[in-house]
């Protein structure tokens, strides 16, 4: 049974239409990530679930019960906030116990629960301190502890890691994922960071401009994006989009990349889909890792290689990113560092045409 069901949800701020009709079902025990650019309405959606924003239209149901008219405190939810929302005038213990006290939990029970949770998050040595005496990472753990100590039905996370530095963020990602495994609770996590979405989610809900653009497992969205926006949003560096004209090639179809002589031969299963675009322009989306170096020309590679001249080489250690021009478009390829020799200015690259995304230039839907 779905733990959370949202139907036809709208939210306005004055004349601004922040959430434009969202329908969403979140199954029990799932880790769902709401991802999107800032201002897309994902935080508003989360706060509507929490009851911190009023619903202008539509319903929110938790465990089959409509909660539109319930105050936040009666919805049996817990929430982790972006800026931690810890009370500076309370010790860490009291911060964690604050929600339990609101619910009139017995004192010995509170002690037991706070103790348990703080050990789970390895913050048990900090209970006597004030928030100002803690580091960012420690504060984040306390904020999470404050939420999970409540044993709520649904846990909400509002960009909880965005104030941490990169290393801590990696660590906390793992921590939250581990908590989800241990607790088995329904968690809804909002972020603008597509890496967080990819690494943590059971299911990603990508929101754009107040509407759901696509939802599914991380690999659904990454490998089979429904729109150009989804394709471009996920992955870093992001997908290269190149305009190409559909032409006949052999028995099937090929693509001539705009402003170049390069022609890519499309495999059979792709060919079927692009037949109707013959003679017109479409977009081909190639992820950086779908380029590879063509070391020796093998006959099976023919028709799927392009010649490029290097603009910039950016080594990062494990991988090396190479920028080059395809026609007018700057594209990036992710290559093995050993493949790039110094002072090399031209490369022949293989394109993994099986994994390319083809997009209708007008509708921006994938083909």
């Amino acid at each position: 049974m779905a733990d959370l069901r949202i139907s036809g949800l709208h939210k306005y701020y004055g004349s601004m239409h922040a959430v434009k009709g969202i329908d969403l079902e979140i199954p029990s025990g799932e880790f769902t990530v709401l991802v999107g650019q800032s201002g897309c309405g994902k935080s508003t959606l989360l706060r509507t679930i929490a009851g911190l924003e009023e619903i202008d239209q539509g319903t929110v149901q938790i465990s089959g019960q409509t909660v539109n008219d319930l105050a936040p405190k009666d919805r049996d939810i817990a929430m982790v906030f972006q800026n931690y929302a810890l009370y500076p005038y309370m010790k860490i213990f009291d911060n964690i116990a604050f929600g339990l006290r609101a619910r009139k939990v017995e004192k010995t029970e509170i002690n037991k629960k706070v103790d348990h949770v703080s050990k789970m998050l390895s913050i048990d040595h900090l209970l006597d301190r004030y928030p100002r005496q803690l580091s960012g990472g420690q504060l984040q753990r306390v904020a999470i502890g404050r939420a999970i100590v409540r044993e709520a039905r649904i846990y909400l996370f509002d960009e909880p890691l965005s104030n941490l530095d990169a290393q801590l963020r990696d660590e906390m990602r793992g921590e939250i994922k581990r908590l989800h495994k241990e607790l088995g609770k329904t968690m809804i996590y909002v972020t603008h960071d597509q890496i967080e979405a990819m690494t943590m989610a059971d299911r990603i809900v990508l929101i754009r401009d107040g509407k759901i653009e696509q939802q599914g497992t991380p690999s659904d969205l990454y490998d089979r994006p429904k729109t150009k926006y989804v394709a471009g949003f996920l992955g870093s560096p992001s997908m290269n989009f190149i305009t190409a004209r559909v032409v006949t090639q052999g028995l099937g179809y090929g693509l001539i990349l705009e402003n170049t002589a390069a022609q890519l031969k499309m495999p059979e299963n792709v060919s079927q889909r692009i037949g109707e675009y013959l003679g017109s322009n479409i977009l081909i989306g190639i992820r950086p890792e779908h380029f590879s170096l063509n070391n020796e020309s093998k006959p099976e590679d023919s028709g799927t290689t392009i010649e490029v001249s290097i603009d910039l080489v950016q080594p990062t250690g494990a991988r090396t990113y190479v920028s080059f021009k395809i026609g007018q478009v700057t594209a990036v390829a992710e290559l093995n560092p050993r493949d790039i020799r110094q002072n090399e200015s031209n490369l022949t690259l293989n394109v993994d045409v099986n994994r390319c995304v083809l997009i209708n230039k007008d509708t921006e839907f994938s083909i």
Partner: protein, 296 residues
């Protein structure tokens, strides 16, 4: 779009009005009632002798137009404002410049310099009447030392000395106010901008007018607004020093209204005066608030 009122909305609506209701009620009693009452009474003919509540039209307003004493009071008020305010501003700015950089005992100096601001204005008026007393006051004594002869300056009676006397008290009490605000504003000026300008070879004067002044202007504007409005209702210091005298030479709008309303009991006339003041000031305040953006 249908906007139905849901239960928490109504509850919340109640909550937010519960919170403000007591304050608004009190403000209406003490803020709005006087306005309405003053408006009504100003069209009547109530004096000490005659409780005449019949409609007199704009008789009182016409009388104000002809009342040289009222215009004199308004003139003095404006004069005190336009003279005292720049003095306080420049003196305050000068003092702030003096203390902006490190100085031994800086905090103590500032703490001491601020004291006049918190003295009750009536007490500072009383203090200055002690200081300026022609015989027992120290100011005349000091002047005598410098002049080398016995002068008995009648500060609060002599028509040419009475204005300086009021300015002395006023400037003494409120320059520290300007000083404190401008010091805070100067401390908030971006040091990097000043250093960049110095490296670019800008002169001290250029740095001051092109960088410092524009960045402290918002605070300066607020300070001018607050002090300007205070000066416009100047009462306590004048009351303690001269009670508006000699004659009506130092009468301000506030002392004039007080005398009319509470010593001569010209109720309706005073009502008209009070309303006129509120109207004049409303325009000033609305205009000034727009410019200053106190709320930011």
């Amino acid at each position: 779009m249908l906007k139905k009122l849901s239960l928490p909305k109504i509850r919340k609506l109640g909550f937010k009005y519960q919170l403000i209701a007591p304050s608004i009620i009190i403000l209406l009693i003490i803020g709005l009632f006087p306005l309405v009452y003053t408006l009504v009474v100003s069209f009547q003919g109530i004096t000490m002798m005659d409780n005449d509540t019949s409609f007199h039209g704009i008789k009182n307003y016409v009388a104000i137009a002809d009342d040289t004493r009222f215009w004199g009071a308004l003139f003095h008020t404006v004069m005190f404002t336009v003279i005292a305010l720049p003095i306080e501003l420049f003196l305050g700015l000068f003092m702030a410049q003096l203390f902006i950089e490190k100085l031994p005992g800086r905090q103590i100096f500032i703490a001491l310099l601020v004291l006049p601001v918190v003295v009750a204005p009536i007490v500072s008026g009383a203090t200055w009447s002690l200081l300026l007393d022609n015989r027992f006051g120290p100011i005349n004594q000091i002047i005598n030392w410098f002049m080398g002869e016995e002068l008995t300056l009648l500060w609060t009676i002599n028509p040419t000395l009475v204005y300086p006397a009021i300015f002395l008290a006023e400037v003494w009490q409120w320059t520290p106010f300007m000083f404190l605000l401008l010091l805070a504003a100067l401390s908030a000026v971006d040091k990097a901008q000043l250093e960049a300008a110095a490296i670019d070879g800008a002169s001290y004067w250029m740095i001051f007018t092109k960088i410092t002044l524009p960045s402290i202007w918002p605070v300066m504007a607020v300070a001018i607004l607050i002090r300007g409005l205070d000066l416009f209702r100047l009462f306590d210091i004048v009351w303690a020093l001269t009670k508006g005298g000699p004659g009506t030479m130092t009468e301000t709008i506030s002392t004039f209204t007080y005398v009319k309303g509470f010593q001569q009991f010209e109720t309706s006339y005073t009502g008209a005066v009070a309303l006129l003041i509120i109207i004049i000031l409303s325009f000033v305040v609305i205009g000034a608030l727009r410019k200053v953006e106190l709320s930011r």
